[in-house]
């Protein structure tokens, strides 16, 4: 099936080369980091995780969201998702690839990555995270590839993948739960020390992931003959709506506990994020942008009239996606480190090198996604053509 990725229009190839160019720039930036160390980033003794780990956290959510297609299609036999389940699985593969790369570029001694395997430490959440993430990548590769292969021959997928598909459901939940546990089990970081962290992660993942997927599906419909159908899009949009409601609700619960209890440790990080602390306000505009976008997106999604309008729906979805990205991709990780363990504020701003590497990793993910989607679309167009001929 791989050959499908090698035949494409001029626009397809231009896109591929643009991505390769961006990857190249990111790679050069990474070489610089390799040489001079993580000192080329904006990270510091006080804010020791930043943009990389935040992107990792966010993308685990995107990866997990494939389950929002798998459950209705395979468990509830919701046929309308038949054409796009594969797109969800391939999105997961691309997202997990980026997650692994973000972990890699964040490491101080990347050559020693095998130490995690050589000295397995079941007490460490990071150990489990690496186990579940690689497992998830593996499951999705196998499931995606065999179901698509079966599809090409217009036969039902082999029986042995069924259990794997069912396994992928709890597994998807596990990757994001374990990722939440990276944060939620740490004493002394009040923003993270919350029992609903995993629930929040899942809610925001099931909002942002499917939102991205709808946008991709709409794009695919434009550039190819693969049309998921309005009903599938609308069903997904409803999933986004409910998940986003839960996400915002959970966040407000956090705000209530932190502010009403008035415990300084709990209130300070939120205060820093939304109003600034001791005159440090770097994240304030971001957090308010996220807030406005979250409510805007939610408003547009809740009313059927706007949700069903395919001109407005993308605006709502982009709003939800960006809001979730700011919340997790910036606020959550960085906010956990501010104020520091001595109640002092050290702010964090990513450097150009850091951003170049980040964009490079996203370009790798997009490249993987493009190739996989190209294959899936190619196969689907073939089988659709055959169906017409017969």
């Amino acid at each position: 099936m791989l050959e499908k990725a090698l035949i494409g229009s001029k626009r397809y190839w231009i896109w591929i080369f643009v991505l390769l160019g961006i990857i190249g720039v990111g790679f050069i930036a990474y070489l610089q980091q390799w040489k001079y160390g993580l000192g080329v980033t904006g990270l510091s003794r006080d804010v020791s995780w930043g943009f990389y780990i935040a992107q990792f956290t966010f993308l685990v959510g995107v990866a997990a969201s494939a389950v929002m297609l798998v459950i209705p299609y395979y468990l509830h036999d919701y046929k309308k998702f038949g054409k796009i389940v594969i797109l969800g699985e391939f999105l997961a593969i691309s997202a997990v690839t980026m997650c692994i790369l973000f972990i890699f570029v964040d490491m101080g001694q990347p050559m020693r990555i095998m130490n995690v395997v050589l000295h397995p430490t079941p007490g460490s959440v990071m150990f489990w995270d690496s186990v579940v993430l690689s497992g998830y990548l593996f499951i999705n590769l196998i499931v995606g590839w065999t179901t698509l292969g079966a599809d090409r021959k217009s036969v039902p997928p082999p029986a042995w993948v069924k259990p794997l598909i069912y396994l992928s459901i709890p597994w998807a939940v596990s990757i994001h739960t374990v990722t939440a546990f990276l944060y939620a089990g740490i004493p002394g970081r009040h923003l993270w020390l919350t029992a609903i962290m995993a629930a929040r992660f899942l809610a925001s993942a099931f909002a942002a992931g499917p939102a991205l997927l709808i946008l991709l599906v709409m794009f695919v419909r434009k550039v190819s003959k693969l049309d998921a159908g309005t009903e599938a899009i609308q069903s997904l949009a409803k999933i986004v709506t409910y998940a986003m409601i839960a996400n915002v609700f959970f966040f407000l619960l956090e705000v209530f506990t932190a502010t009403y209890s008035g415990i300084p440790g709990h209130a300070h990080p939120l205060k820093y994020l939304f109003f600034g602390l001791d005159g440090h306000t770097a994240l304030v505009p971001w957090m308010w942008t996220a807030t406005v976008l979250a409510f805007l997106g939610l408003g547009l999604l809740i009313f059927p009239a706007t949700r069903q309008n395919e001109g407005i729906l993308p605006i709502a979805l982009v709003s939800v996606f960006v809001a979730a990205w700011i919340d997790k991709g910036m606020g959550l990780v960085i906010g956990g480190f501010i104020p520091n363990m001595f109640e002092r504020v050290t702010e964090y701003t990513p450097t150009a090198t850091e951003l170049a590497i980040t964009v490079g990793v996203y370009a790798v993910g997009l490249l993987v996604l493009t190739v996989l989607y190209k294959i899936a679309i190619g196969v689907r167009e073939d089988t659709a053509g055959e169906a017409e001929h017969h």
Binding site: Y36, G37, L38, G39, T41, L43, S44, R45, D46, S48, W49, I103, D106, M107, G108, Q109, P110, R112, I113, N115, V116, L118, H119, T121, G123, S124, V125, M126, F127, S130, L182, G185, I186, P187, G188, R189, P264, G265, G336, F337, N340, M341, F342, E343, R344, T346
Partner: protein
């Protein structure tokens, strides 16, 4: 882990097979010499069930007192000193005012002097260390004597331990510690040739002078502190640390988090304390 008999045989055997001349090793083996080929602690070494510190800040009077302790540590351990670049700073022991050492304990009626009174902070060698729990490679681990050690050979630089330590005790080598400061001077002014430096990309912190304890010396900071830092076995009721803890009021940093720090601070300073 040491080379045990089986491993040794394997190595010797393999090198013989490869014609690399393991024969003499095998011979010495037959003479029974190998049983003794083992590692053991230095008999001069200090031992304890659980090492701990008492820091009596009333005995730290001048700036000089703090500096002497910190410099002693940083000099013998080849800790790079960042004069300007505070973001990438590496430090094992340093001073912090009361309100930063014990956040949430200060109050508005506290005397200014007290609020600003400096403490010496370093790794607490917690009995239930958060850093050890999270480390995915056991690069940071707890020794039988309570010291929370850092194996810089194994550290992958993921910095999970820095996120987890509630005491800000850990530093990451963002830059090459053998490199230069912004003003062009070396970060490590004078190398201690008997101790290693670290490399870029690993985490480091106070190791309770394990290398000194093993040959019977006190921690460097304690040695130069004029009694302000006392080091001893917390499990031994007759140790000096236990005697101080039994007679004076001591506090620990953030005890509510359950990591059970092994540094006890004597506040003292006035007759009313």
């Amino acid at each position: 882990m040491s080379i045990n008999r089986r491993q040794f045989l394997k190595i010797a055997g393999a090198s013989t097979v490869l014609g690399l001349g393991g024969a003499s090793v095998v011979n010495s083996l037959k003479r029974g010499g190998l049983e003794a080929s083992q590692m053991s602690p230095d008999p001069k070494g200090l031992v304890a069930k659980r090492w701990g510190f008492v820091v009596d800040v009333s005995k730290l009077e001048s700036e000089e007192d703090y500096k002497r302790c910190a410099d002693a540590c940083h000099n013998i351990h080849n800790v790079p000193v960042f004069k300007n670049d505070k973001l990438h700073e590496v430090k094992w022991i340093w001073k912090e005012p009361f309100e930063n050492t014990f956040p949430g304990t200060e109050h508005e009626y506290m005397s200014h002097e007290f609020k600003e009174k400096n403490f010496l902070v370093f790794c607490n060698h917690c009995a239930k260390p958060a850093c050890v729990k999270v480390c995915p490679t056991k690069a940071t681990f707890k020794r039988k004597d309570g010291i929370v050690m850092q194996d810089m050979h194994r550290c992958i630089g993921c910095r999970f331990c820095m996120a987890a330590c509630p005491f800000g005790a850990r530093s990451f080598n963002y830059l090459d510690p053998r490199g230069k400061d912004t003003d062009g001077t070396p970060l490590i002014k004078v190398e201690n040739k008997t101790f290693p430096t670290r490399m870029i990309g690993v985490v480091e912190k106070c190791t309770a002078c394990y290398e000194r304890l093993s040959i019977g010396q006190q921690p460097a900071c304690a040695e130069v502190s004029n009694g302000a830092i006392v080091f001893g076995d917390l499990e031994d009721p007759n140790s000096e640390v236990r005697k101080i803890i039994a007679t004076k009021y001591t506090i620990r940093r953030k005890p509510e988090l359950g990591t059970q720090p092994s540094i006890y601070y004597v506040i003292g300073g006035s007759e009313h304390a």
